[in-house]
Amino acid sequence: MQPATMKVLKIDFEKCTGCRLCELVCAVHHDGVSNPARSRIRVVKWESEGLYIPMACQQCQDAPCMQGCPVGAITHNWEQNRVEVDYGLCIGCRTCVAVCPFGAMHFNTIDRKVIKCDLCNGDPQCVRFCEVKAVTFVDAGDESLARQRTAARRLHTAEGKAAALL
C-alpha cells in the first residue's frame, strides 16, 4: 500500500553550524538522558576545514541492515516509512552495524543494543530543534526539488555565458 506522504529526513549539511544539539535532543527524547553516544543522529566533523555533516539513517528502500540481519529482526514499516528493529528478535550480533553504508546503525554499549533513527514516530526532535534547518523533514518526492532548481539556475547562467562568447 502506498502511504499518502512519505516523509524523510533531508540533510542540508552546508547549513549545519556543528552545534550537535540534534545529538543531545535525540538522546534526551529516546532515553531521557544527555549522552551523544546514545544519539541516532551524529554530526561528523572535519574541524580543520570547518566542515560539519549530520549523518542519520536513510531509511533505505532495500536496506542492507535488513538484508544482512540473520534473524529477520529488521523490517520496513511502510506506514511510518522507516526501517525498524524488533528488539524481541534481535540477538545483538551487530551485523547491521557492520553493513550499513552510512554508519547510521549504532551499537549502544550502555544498554548493549543496536540503535537507529525511528523518526521519533513522525515528529523528529532533531528537526524540531535545528533552527538553521540543516535537518528538515520533507516528502521524499520533494527532496530533490531545491537541488534541481539550483542546478537549473547554474545551467542557465552557464548557457548565458556561452551565448556571450558567441
Partner: protein, 646 residues
Amino acid sequence: MALNRKIAYIDLSTNTVETRPIPLEIRKKFLGGRGLDAYLLYNHAPAGCDPLGPENVLIISAGILTATCASASARTHIMAKSPLTGLLGSTNMGGFFAPELAWAGFHHLVIKGKAAGPVYLFIHNGEIEIRDAAHLWGKTTTDTQWAIRSELDDEEVKSCVIGPAGENLVRFANVMTGIKNAGGRTGMGCVMGSKNLKAVAVRGTLDIRLAHPAQALDFNKKFIDQITSAKVNQIQGKLGTPFIWGATNCWGGLRTNNFQYNQLEDADDIEPERLDEIATETMGPHHMAACFGCQVHCRAQYKIPAGPYAGKYDEGPEYTSLGAFGAEAGCRSAVTVLTGNHLVDQYGMDNLETGSLIAWAMELFEKGILTARETDGLDLRFGNDEALLEMVHRICARQGWLGDTLADGGIPAAEKIGNNAFDYLIQVKGMNNLHSDERATPALALNVATSSRGSDHLRSRPAIDLYHLPEEVLRKIYGTPVPYDGPLSSDHTSYTGKPWMVFWQENCYMAVDCLGICKYHTVFLGATLPNFEDWPRVIELNTGLKLSPTDIWQIAERGNMLERLFNLREGLTRDDPKKGDTLNHRYFDEPCLRGAPDVIGLSIDRDRFNAMIDEFYEIKGLDKNGLPEPRTLERLGLAQEPSHQL
C-alpha cells in the same frame, strides 16, 4: 545526574590522582563552574604563592548545567592565581570541551604540582591518565589537538591545550580548544606551561541523567525561542561579534592609537559587513558555526584572503581581534586583522592583551620612550601592519628585547622600560583593557575598574546602559530578584544608579559562569534575555535542584565576594594604581576627541567616580577601603573561609 559529576585532584609532581564527589551543601552554596572554582582556589592555593610555582593550583571546570538539556551550556571555566596580575586568574571559553568533560564523569579538575617533563592528561569515562607530551611540545594549538586525536585514534576527543606562547611562559598565554575557542584572559596558558602541562584531553560516553527529561526538552525549546527571538542574537548569528565593533566605532567608543582617540576613521575594510563578505567568498553563504547546543551560532568561518598566510582556515575574528589588530594599533586592513587573529589562535596567546600591549608600545615609540634600539630596528609606528604582526611573532617567541619585555605583561614591562611608560598603559590590576573606551560611560568605567580579574568587559558590564532604555524597563530588569528602589538613569553619561547596575550585572554574570552557559543567553547585549527569574526552572528540570531566584542571586554574590577575598589576600587595595579598583589617569584627564555628540568632549569625573566606588562598596557590604564588613561575610556564609571542605 549532573549533580554526581566529581572533582579530580591531580598532582603532577607525584603523579597521583584522587577523585571526590561534590557534596550537595557545597553545590547549594557555589553551584559549579566559576563559583566552585573560586572556592577551590581560595582553599587550595597557598596565600602569596608564586603563580608559576608548583604550589599554584589550576582548576578546569564545567558548569552545573553543562551538557544537560539547557541551551548553550558549553562553557569551560579555568581558574588559578594569575601570572599576569598576581591576583585572581580566571577565564572562560566556549566550544565542546566542557560537555565532554561532564560526559567523562567530571565537573572540576584541580591540578597541582609540576611535571618533570611535558605531559598531557587523558580523561576517559572516570579514568585519568598522565601521558608523555614530549612529542607535542612546540606544536601549535591546533596541531597539538589533531596529534592527540591521532595518537588516541579517536576523532571525538576534545582537548584544551597550550601553544608555543604557553610553553614560553608568555604571561598572557591562553588555553585553546577547537580552532578558536580561547580561554584568553589572565594567562592561564602560562600556568599550564609552568606545570609542563601541554594539554588536557577528554572523551566521555557516560550518561547524564536529567531530573525531568521530557519537560527539560520542551523547556529548552521555549528557552531557545526566547534567545533566538532577540534581535541582537539574530545579528550575532549573521555577523558575529564584529557587529558590536561596527556599532561602537560609529558611536565613538573604541580605543584608537592606544588611547589617543576613541574612533577609527576610514575603517571600511574592517567593518563587519566587509568581514562577512570575505567569509562568504572563502567559505560560502552558510559560514557561521556554533558552540555545543547553541542556536546563536556567532562564529564566522573564514580563510585569509591574501598575504603570507593566504588560504589558512580560522574562525572569528571576534570584536576583540578587531580592536587588537585594528583600531588600537591604528591599522585598517582586514587581512591584518584576520592574520593577527590566526596567529594568536595558533600560538595560544590572548588577543586582547597582545594587541593592547603592542598599541601601548607604539605610543611609547611615537613619544620617543621606546626607540629603534629597543625595537631592534622595527619601525613601530601606528598603522604599520607589518610591524604589528611582527611583534605578535616576537612576543610569542620572546624574541628581541621588546618581544621578551612585552611577554612579561604590562606592569613588569613598564618598570623595565622606565621613564613614564606606565602612564600610557591602559590597565587595571595589571591586566590591560580590551579595546573599548569607557570615558563617555561612567557605568562601564566602574565595571572595568572593579572587575575581579582586572580590566574586563565580561564580569560586570551593564552593556544595555548604552541603549537608553526607559527607566521603567531598567527598573523591571534591575529591580529583581532583589528589590531596588534607588535611582536608575537611562542616560549613559550619568553617574546616577550605575553602581547598582554594575553590582546586578556582576551577580548575573557570576551566576551564568556557575551555570556554565554563554553570556549571549542572558542580559548582556540583549535586555529581553533570560536571567534570575528564568533560571530556577531550567536548573530544577535538568538537575532536580530547587533554588529560588534570590537563592541564585545570593550564590552569585557569595562567589563574587570569595573572589574579592582572594584578591585582598593577594594584595588588592582600593587605590593602588597597579593592584587596585582604579583607572589610568587618562580616563580623567583626556577627553574623547571623536564620536557622537553625546561622547565627544567627555571624560570621567574623578570625584564622581570616587563617589561611585564608595556607593558600589556600600552596596556590596564593603567598608571604605574595599574590605568586607564582618556582617557581610556572615550573611554570605563566608566567615569561616577557607573551610577546606573539598
